[in-house]
Symmetry: D2
């Protein structure tokens, strides 16, 4: 995309959704380190998401996690979000935190547990109507820890049954995004372990069902941009849960561990016209800030996705295609690397000025004193975390 | 399968195909260590495959690799095989060893190269008619080494076009088995990197197309038995290329690196009725014997698959199902482990005696003096290898 | 070891230590599923460890975790253990669960935090005197999540300083076992990530310092038995934390995920005379039972280590050496596999009868009604977990 | 390093050694694709290395591989190199390409084979005297493919014996660089699989022995910069074999697969003063150009190392240290990322102009017509490859 006007327009139009749960405390199985100023309820999480949007200009919605963000009146929560300049985004059901789910949720051998899990999923579809959300993001912790523990195929059949029941409840522009994950919390066989499994179920279900790619959920060595390009090419890419990793599902800030990978992913998006809203790709963050402060970490993550996108937009698609057709291995690689090696921070500073926000979001946030303010204000109550 | 008569019958009925190329010299990029007594042509490879069958009783066919096994008269080769007590099995085209294929075969950016590769594939379908083979095993070395080198999606389209052209040529009971591989020789993006990609193409093509699982072609941590169970459940498992690995595509003897994994895979096969010929699962070896003598290594590999199958047949499916339904994690695992911990060698010795062969195949081969004989006879000529 | 008398004697003499924390509730960052009958304090954990010993005969000690097992009077706890037929084993300090440790313990950039961590380690040496423990098991959660977060080498210097301070406090037969772990909870750079780092520090410290190998703490593909053989050969193998894994540090029951690997490890131990108490190798379990009942899971784990040991003892070392010297690849492998493929359960049943315990530990425990009894008795109070 | 004069001086002083074998044909076990213009002997390889230096200015030496680069008169070859403006660098013995080495070289169970391998190593020390080389780079393909094949510890003892014999032969400023590799060509247990093993042997040997880090030789997830920082801190880092990888030992162009990792490595080098010649760190490339033209691929690789170094030199060490001491996770990471995100190509263009070479090495090489010239000239003879 040689035209810098078009590049800037594309960058202004980008939309990255923040996850409400990333504003709360999180950690590993070893320890959750509590931080100051953490929100106590869904309203304060919405406030924090609005803060991220205020400084970045490209994060105008926040995903909810049910029941962690359960409120009596979702319309009131949506109105609160609108007041703050953002909207409510994807609904993320939770079918992994009840003692009943020890052996799985919709794949559990016990039909009563499956019914309970399905009821929660259907309740979340109802919530989508109240929040005006388009996307139901489904992640299942289901799986087994030991060979023989349960039947792989029986669990597939149970999964399929539940997915169909939920799918049939969708109306209007509602969609189902089906996430996969190699392992954790299941350590032998996960019921949706890879994109192939999600894809097969989505094809079974119909066009409203699409694969959700969490960038931290793959085996070592997996070429994620291949998956992204493949799914986008077949109109089955529903969206992303961005984060980054060195080892397993580390949930580090997007772009922190492998900025080149994030760029390669965004390059496939740009080349496949996935930035076009008509492509139906939702760009969402899903990460943990175990030791760093949450709001600036989310601002940083948004900026990292934005920088990767800017670089991807600078790839000279025409020169690339020519080198590819010519079989010029080094030349084609050079076209891509030229874009990657460009410092896009001046360009993004310009884009922000065009949008009327501070060209230096991190500096501006730091100077604002906001972090101290919320630390002082948010005292008492229960700090939000993965359990609430 | 509590009934030991049925277990023994199932073991007598098992069929494991050997690969002609495993009888030739092979190695790594660092060195091919030449061995004595290696076959010089397709006829001698058939002889060696017949030897493996003679000592095991369950390896009655041999897969061919074209052009490494090219002969003027395939009917004559098939007759030679019948004389030796075996048949010709799957046909494996080679579209990776011409200088033209530097940037790929059917995915190459150059249409002339794609045409050449397709012609070879179609020629192999013709060979299948001559050899009476049911299965065309397709493995493509296609992929790229550097980001940007070629378009992921353009290559998918080219792949799809070639697969359709080959598929349309199939007649009678002919099938296409589509293999995937994470990496090597491509080191950035392989065009068929995982089962999901193979599966999607097979679904596009139709019921004659099925996924071929090579047990060495996965990312670290991949649960292969999940893939096997999933594909078998959907009638898309075409067969196996058995071998084993500690690291990458090491191509060690099947069962040598992780006998428990091989057992788990065969357990899914048994539980999913995949041993039934009607299931259409081809059990084939595909491995390299870089430092060990080839014929006894293949005998050992056949025995390892056989032992894993025997253990899988001993899993008490009824007790397993009950423990699974009850959510008895330890009990269900114990059912599986009881079978795995059983020493099935006495049972298999009995099966062999029922079949009229020596109960100790390795010992019998060693005592036969055959290895010395072929070392003495096969002098001069060009020892078979991956290049011929 | 051809002499079956010697094999049985070796099996009767084996000692496997259970970890007190494995009797409490555990889980993943997503959820800890509470179980019934879980101990409420260190005394009840000792009771559970004694139960495991009662049924297996080879688990006569229990490792403690401080402060999770903190008591006012360690001599009284030791006496309680003796009453139950076991002893107190290794002391495991905890320097990862205070908010102060967000950026590390002995490697923390803040000297006050380092001092606090060191004080706890020294306190644990004092506890060793009271409990009569020989081994201090050191595992540090220290590391960083982001490039640049802290200086790798400054952290090494701080680590070294703390280790020296602790080492100098050791007296009598006390030892320091230094554990390493690839990742988690640190997701960028762990301060003791591999055996090489532990080894280098142990060599710096002196002969009382030895490497502790946790079988779940390695990168994919790591050959653990190589490390074990190497360290044992150099008298630097302090012991094991046994558990098993398919993916990361899954902490599944020892031998559940890869029984062949456990056998290979125990084979190196047997060949290197590591079962001899003079070798100074401590055999300990360290695992989590997230979804299965804890006591039978620990019994199963002890049995799995025992079965692997029995098979390792059956390796015909003389035949193996001969095949190795002759360069007989298949023959040498066959010697090892012959032992592995043997069903050692009848042998172990005999060993148990020699020891006066039930030949079927799992069945005997199940029939005893003990699980129901503790579920009924242990009501109220705080169930033990990783936090207490 | 805030001082841009110092940064430019450091960049002008950088030295990156090219490997003679990378100019010859190479490939995978599946196929070696021949290229045009490939050198036919050591003299032409030296010419190609000189060409890389001519265009980059920072590649003034070439490593030799014996016997691939065997000549009658090494002094004459050294003189030829000097004529072309470069020198002969590290000597790399080859003890993996004789049929005798099927079961290993210095670790082989057969003492005659071990003797042969040792003789070759000692011959290479003699060659070092003739070429004026400082470093002997030792990589051993030794290892086993199957459990039991050989004794891990016996092989360690044999390795140690050979290393001592070679070490004792070193004189003057000669050094031994000891490389490790996780796997390939050995697929079960490699005799020098990780840095810990190399380090332990180097400590045994003495100060002339140092660890050689090949960036492609690690298990997935290994933090290479940790190893680099650790070894440099202890004066045991002998040097690098740079290349890059997505999967195994892919040997792609340095910096092509993970430029951020290369930057992190170079940052540890800069922070640990490893660029100072007194630190004794040799910066060498070791890679394969299977599908791309070799000379420009090596120019690109040199540039990639140079760019990573330039970025590392831009890290504000003082600001970094302050953020680290303050425990400012995001701030410290930002210091590092600021340097990484800088486009250093203009700075390097300036450095090149200071050195009197073309600011655009790739473009200059392309425009020179050199590639066509060597393609036309180098016809007939045997193109160099891994076998010669």
């Amino acid at each position: 995309m040689a035209d810098s006007q078009a590049v800037r327009a594309a960058l202004r139009a980008q939309r990255i959704e923040t996850p409400s749960w990333a504003f709360g405390n999180s950690g590993t199985r070893f320890k959750v380190f509590a931080q100051q100023g953490v929100p106590r309820d869904a309203y304060e999480k919405v406030d924090d998401a609005a803060t991220v949007h205020q400084y970045t200009g490209v994060a105008p919605s926040v995903a909810l996690h049910i029941p962690w963000d359960k409120v009596d009146d979702y319309a009131a929560l949506a109105a609160h979000a609108r007041d703050r300049g953002i909207t409510l985004g994807a609904i993320n059901p939770n079918v992994f935190q009840e003692d009943d789910y020890r052996l799985g949720s919709v794949c559990n051998p016990d039909p009563a547990v499956r019914r309970r899990a399905l009821d929660h999923l259907l309740e979340c579809v109802d919530i989508m109507a109240a929040t005006g959300s388009r996307d139901l993001s489904l992640w299942f912790a289901d799986g087994t820890n030991y060979p023989g523990q349960d039947s792989i195929t029986a669990r597939q059949d149970r999964l399929s049954e539940a997915l169909h029941a939920v799918y049939e409840r969708l109306t209007g522009d509602q969609r189902m995004l089906l996430e996969y994950k190699l392992f954790e919390p299941a350590f032998y066989a996960t019921d949706l372990p890879d994109w192939g499994t999600s894809f097969a179920h989505c094809v079974d279900l119909g066009p409203r069902a699409r694969v959700l790619v969490d960038t931290g959920h793959h085996a070592p060595g997996t070429n994620i941009e291949f998956i992204v390009a493949f799914l986008l090419h077949r109109s089955r890419l529903g969206g992303f849960h961005f984060n980054s990793r060195f080892y397993a599902d580390d949930d580090l800030m997007a772009g922190a561990a492998d900025p080149f990978q994030l760029f390669r992913i965004m390059t496939e998006i740009v080349l496949g016209r996935g930035l076009d809203p008509a492509a139906g790709v939702a760009f969402m963050l899903d990460q943990c800030h175990n030791i760093e402060p949450k709001i600036p970490a989310l601002i940083r993550s948004v900026l990292n996705v934005q920088e990767a996108t800017a670089k991807a937009l600078l790839v000279d698609a025409e020169a690339l295609r020519k080198s590819q057709v010519d079989g010029d291995v080094l030349g084609a690689n050079e076209v891509v690397m030229d874009a990657y090696n460009t410092d896009v921070r001046p360009l993004l500073a310009q884009v922000r000025q065009d949008m009327g926000i501070d060209p230096d979001p991190i500096g501006a946030y730091r100077r604002s004193g906001h972090q101290d303010r919320i630390a002082a204000q948010r005292v008492g109550g229960n700090a939000a975390g993965w359990g609430a």
